[in-house]
């Protein structure tokens, strides 16, 4: 090739004069940061995480200290959220009650996400008989109420935080697998999969390195959605007595312990733990919505 060429697109390498023809889109996390709902959600979430980790050191009282002379006392300067039936400080119990739920729920969700993603990838990519059988099993599990399945397991295994994590994680697995499978099916028609097979890549590589990065946004959204549900499930199980066991401070268990005295006008025993659950679930959902919108668009 001689030098008579002008500005070459198929001569020497392009790009000496040319600019990259398409601008890089702004990073996803930057888009996330610009959303106010995401900010609010993160602030509330951060507050509860700080409570969970350091709550013991700044709670005004010990969450376990009973004062049988001051049971069910109304909110006051000494006890901002009042005291419960055993005279324990409600504020301190709400602050320290964040601890267990904030590690049980995310760990359970993480377990479910990992297992569900793996199952969904295999179902979606391999297809065929495996997919057919696994899909029916998933549907069978989905047909039963989650709390009932949880009961069965907890009764069989005995209540402990480890059981709680395992049970919620396993209940979430088919739910997440179904979502991931749908995302994988959308990828399966794309030509980069036969291209990878033509390079001699095996199924494990193709699933983990080719498909997984492309379905990761869907997995992330699924994780945040399920986290909200997990918090609710943990609180529900604790309320029913199958979750975190007394006397460990826990919002669900505290509502259970005190809701009997609600008709007598002792509303603070129940209201504040309930608000704590509501604020945490709301915060997670605010974050979820933002993540979902950024991931999808």
């Amino acid at each position: 090739m001689t030098d008579t060429t002008v500005n070459p697109i198929s001569g020497p390498p392009v790009g000496t004069a040319a600019v990259a023809p398409v601008q890089a889109p702004p990073a996803r996390w930057l888009l996330l940061m610009r959303r106010p709902t995401f900010g609010i959600g993160v602030v509330i979430l951060a507050f509860w995480i700080v409570c969970a980790i350091f709550g013991g050191s700044f709670a005004p009282h010990s969450p376990l200290a009973q004062d049988l002379l001051a049971t069910n006392s109304a909110p006051s300067g000494a006890h901002w959220f009042g005291t419960d039936q055993l005279g324990r400080d409600v504020l301190s119990r709400v602050i320290t009650g964040a601890r267990d739920i904030l590690y049980v729920a995310p760990l359970a969700t993480l377990l479910g996400t990992v297992l569900g993603t793996a199952l969904g990838l295999v179902m979606g990519y391999l297809g065929g008989a495996f997919d057919l059988i696994a899909s029916r099993l998933v549907e069978a599990v989905l047909a039963l109420p989650a709390v009932i399945i949880a009961f069965l397991f907890i009764v069989a295994l005995g209540p402990s935080t480890l059981t709680l994590i395992l049970v919620i994680g396993i209940i979430f697995t088919p739910l997440i697998a179904r979502t991931v499978r749908a995302a994988v099916l959308a990828e399966r028609d794309l030509d980069y999969l036969p291209a990878a097979r033509l390079l001699g890549e095996g199924p494990a590589w193709i699933m983990a390195r080719e498909i997984l990065p492309n379905v990761l946004p869907a997995v992330l959204v699924e994780f945040t959605v399920r986290l909200g549900y997990a918090i609710f499930t943990v609180a529900t199980l604790s309320f029913l007595g199958f979750g975190i066991q007394p006397p460990t401070p826990d919002w669900g268990a505290d509502i259970y312990a005190n809701y009997a005295v609600l008709p007598a006008g002792y509303w603070w025993d129940t209201l504040f733990p309930a608000l704590a659950i509501a604020s945490l679930v709301t915060a997670v959902n605010l974050v979820t919505d933002s993540v979902e919108q950024v991931a999808n668009g």
Binding site: I9, A17, L199
Partner: protein, 738 residues
């Protein structure tokens, strides 16, 4: 702005159009007003808080009865113009300056009611994908009567049905009553597009906007649809705005043409004159990108337009095309050029319009062009240097391969007893319409689809395993593919470095510095740059993405590369560069190609051998020059005649529809057993003796290596196809090599 000249030339035909239209509709509001007048139109899209102009100061007029073509590549703003005319811009788009009037009505000032009336009665649009324009859950009849109802005064059911049937008959749909009972998915693409056209015409609009109406269709179907449109336009006295990237289609359909580049109308004029003697360097460049009859990969390189479209938003002070123009002078870079009148009704937005056709070539001629005499001998199919190699020169051989897919309700015979062969360093062109089995054949060669037991695929004489899982790495290395659509073929989460580096590591077994060296070589051999390595496909243009895909295919030194329509997703100017690249790589490395394409000009440019497939059967095969010159199989003859062609300087413009061979009906369903010749249901040269229906013809050899599956003796076919008064295809034989 002051230098703007008026751009609304009218031809005598368009005056006829005025009277016709007036008669048809009973004289609309302003009889003197043009069907469409767009003046100084600016359209802006709001992207991340900033306005970006998609159209800048665009003015054109369409007279009544006239067909106006708008040509441009992706990003030129041609679809934006169509959307602005019907006020259907996306939410973030708006007309920021200028005016649009349809038949004298100001479109931009209309309220919702006026707009509804405009869209219902005065303008119709036909889009590229008929499948997406029809509601999948409503029968054709229901959709059509709905369209008739909205544009006309309500009538009773019987009248509506009759009107719908008339509309379908008008777009030459056989048996309209049956089609009205079908759902859209039960129709072929060509049928569905006719239905969409029938719906568009049911309002007898003044202006019909066709946005790439045949791009998604096969060649013979495209030809039918185009041949259908011209008489309908005359009959109904419509004006047509025809939007396309395909210059040949535009030249066939349009009276006048406007060329859009980066949102500006850079040239406008009578179609024949503009395409034969363009006066803007962009138009000149665009026309040079298209392979012409007579151009061959071993003799001519295609000329590409260097550089890229300007980024939306970055506005240079001078001419928009200056950064890519070989003729640009200082003036071009400082002040935007006005429209210069360069002929009667022909304007060019270029200071250098007088010398536009002297635009320097961007491609040097091939380093050592094959001398003409030798090239001709080669083109004649014998005595070429490669052909001498004998059977040991055969690289790939497919023998008696069939493929039957099991589908609901029976089996589909996608391929039946297909044999093809390919020599080292040569290109085998696979030609055929959708459903012909060309992609299935390629997938069998690659090992992605297992053929029915019985056939053999050999590489260098050794039989290849049917499935990829059973093929050793060495075979994977030898057979690779470049897919049609790089967006689908490249993992969008992977960087260019990983996309190209992975085959080097996996197939070529390289690592460390050796890999880095090979990677750098590979990147420069596909004309990418090092700075592209950390980027992901989403950050590259279509042409660059396809280069990455080509680099991946060539990474481990393949001996055969399947190219499955590698340029059909690309713009014309990029297509030329990719074809040049494929030609260069083949010349350097003696790689063989299996080149699948529906574009016969590209196949003619690139292929040495051609196989014509129809409904899973080989109908004709042979050296490229032999297949492109008579005698042809009647199907090949029809394909060639369906090819829209650009006017050539010094050639009289004939009406292409006169000589086009129309194929009746649809390709046969692959699930039915067909007796006799597979093409007999549509063959225009079917013999009256009935042998075509009863007995399948064998592949007969005419010239050495040139096989035709037809009962008509080859000598007779030649006589029929060369006879001057007969249905001689327009692409007369040998035009290439003569």
């Amino acid at each position: 702005m002051a230098d703007e000249v008026s751009v609304g030339g009218r031809s005598p035909e368009s005056c006829d159009g005025v009277t016709l239209a007036a008669q048809y509709r009973g004289a609309p509001a302003a009889p003197a007003a043009p069907a469409l007048a767009v003046r100084s139109l600016d359209v802006a899209y709001r992207v991340r808080g900033a306005d970006q102009l998609a159209l800048r100061n665009v003015s054109f007029e369409i007279a009544r009865g006239e067909t106006y073509g708008l040509v441009g590549e992706s990003g030129s703003g041609k679809s934006t113009a169509a959307l602005a005319i019907v006020r259907y811009l996306p939410r973030n788009g708006r007309v920021s300056a200028g005016s649009i009037s349809v038949g004298g009505r100001d479109v931009l000032g209309m309220g919702q009611r006026g707009l509804r009336d405009l869209r219902a009665r005065h303008i119709s649009m036909v889009y590229q994908e008929p499948g997406r324009a029809l509601n999948p859950s409503i029968r054709i009849g229901g959709q059509l009567t709905e369209a008739i109802k909205t544009s006309n005064s309500p009538r009773n059911e019987a009248e509506l049905t009759a009107a719908a049937e008339t509309m379908l008959a008008r777009v030459r749909i056989p048996d309209p009553r049956r089609v009205m009972d079908r759902y859209p998915h039960e129709l072929s693409g060509g049928m569905a597009q006719r239905v969409v056209i029938a719906m568009a015409l049911s309002a007898t609009p003044e202006l019909l906007i066709l946005d790439e109406p045949t791009t998604a269709l096969d060649a013979t179907v495209q030809a039918e649809v185009l041949d259908l449109l011209a008489p309908l336009r005359d009959e109904l006295g419509m004006s047509v705005l025809f939007i396309s990237h395909n210059l040949a289609v535009i030249s066939q359909m349009c009276d006048r043409v406007g060329v859009l580049y980066a949102g500006e109308l850079v040239e406008e004029g009578p179609a024949a004159e503009l395409l034969r003697a363009p006066r803007h360097p962009y138009t000149v460049g665009l026309l040079r990108c298209v392979p012409r009859p007579g151009q061959r990969k071993d003799r001519d390189r295609l000329d590409a337009i260097p550089g890229f479209l300007p980024q939306p938003g970055d506005k240079a002070p001078g001419c928009v095309f200056a950064p890519r123009c070989g003729l640009a002078i200082d003036e071009c870079r400082t002040a935007p050029p006005p429209l210069f009148e360069v002929g009667s009704g022909h304007v060019s937005r270029c200071y250098r319009h007088q010398v536009a056709q002297d635009l320097p070539l961007t491609q040097s001629p091939l380093a050592s062009p094959v001398p003409m005499a030798e090239a001709e001998a080669d083109a004649d199919g014998d005595a070429g240097p490669v052909a001498d190699e004998g059977p040991e020169g055969l690289l790939v051989s497919v023998e008696g391969v069939s493929k039957t897919f099991q589908a609901r309700g029976g089996s589909v015979r996608a391929l039946r007893d297909v044999s093809v062969s390919l020599r080292a360093g040569q290109t085998l062109g696979l030609v055929g319409e959708s459903g012909s089995g060309k992609t299935t054949l390629a997938r069998i060669l690659l090992g992605l689809t297992a053929p029915d037991p019985g056939g053999r695929v050999t590489l260098d004489g050794a039989e290849l395993a049917a499935t990829l899982a059973k093929r050793p790495l060495a075979t994977l290395r030898d057979v690779q593919i470049v897919f049609q659509n790089p967006d689908s073929a490249l993992n969008r989460r992977a960087t260019v470095r990983r996309l190209i580096g992975r085959p080097l590591a996996k197939l070529a077994g390289l690592s460390g510095p050796a890999l880095a060296t090979r990677l750098a070589e590979l990147v420069s051999s596909v004309r990418l740059a090092q700075r592209h390595l950390p980027l992901k496909p989403g950050q590259l243009s279509g042409g660059l993405k396809q280069r990455v895909a080509i680099a991946r295919a060539f990474a481990a030194g393949p001996r055969v590369v399947v190219c499955d329509e590698p340029t059909s997703a690309l713009d014309v100017s990029v297509q030329a560069a990719i074809l040049n690249l494929l030609g260069d790589l083949q010349a350097e490395r003696r790689t063989s190609y299996v080149f699948i394409s529906h574009d016969l000009e590209i196949v003619r440019y690139l292929a040495d051998q051609i196989v014509v497939l129809y409904a899973g059967r080989v109908l004709e095969s042979g050296p490229a020059s032999a297949v492109f010159s008579a005698p042809h199989h009647p199907y090949t003859e029809a394909l060639l005649s369906a090819m829209p062609r650009l006017p050539v300087a010094g050639e009289a413009a004939g009406d292409p529809a006169d000589t086009r061979i129309q194929l009746a009906g649809e390709p046969p369903s692959l699930s039915d057993a067909i007796s006799g010749c597979i093409f007999h249901t549509r063959c225009p040269r079917k013999l009256s003796s009935g042998i075509c229906e009863s007995t399948e013809p064998g592949l007969l050899e005419g010239e050495p290596g040139h096989l035709i599956r037809c009962h008509i003796p080859i000598g007779e076919l030649r006589g029929l196809q060369l006879s001057p008064g007969g249905t001689t295809p327009r692409n007369s034989p040998g035009a290439g090599s003569a």
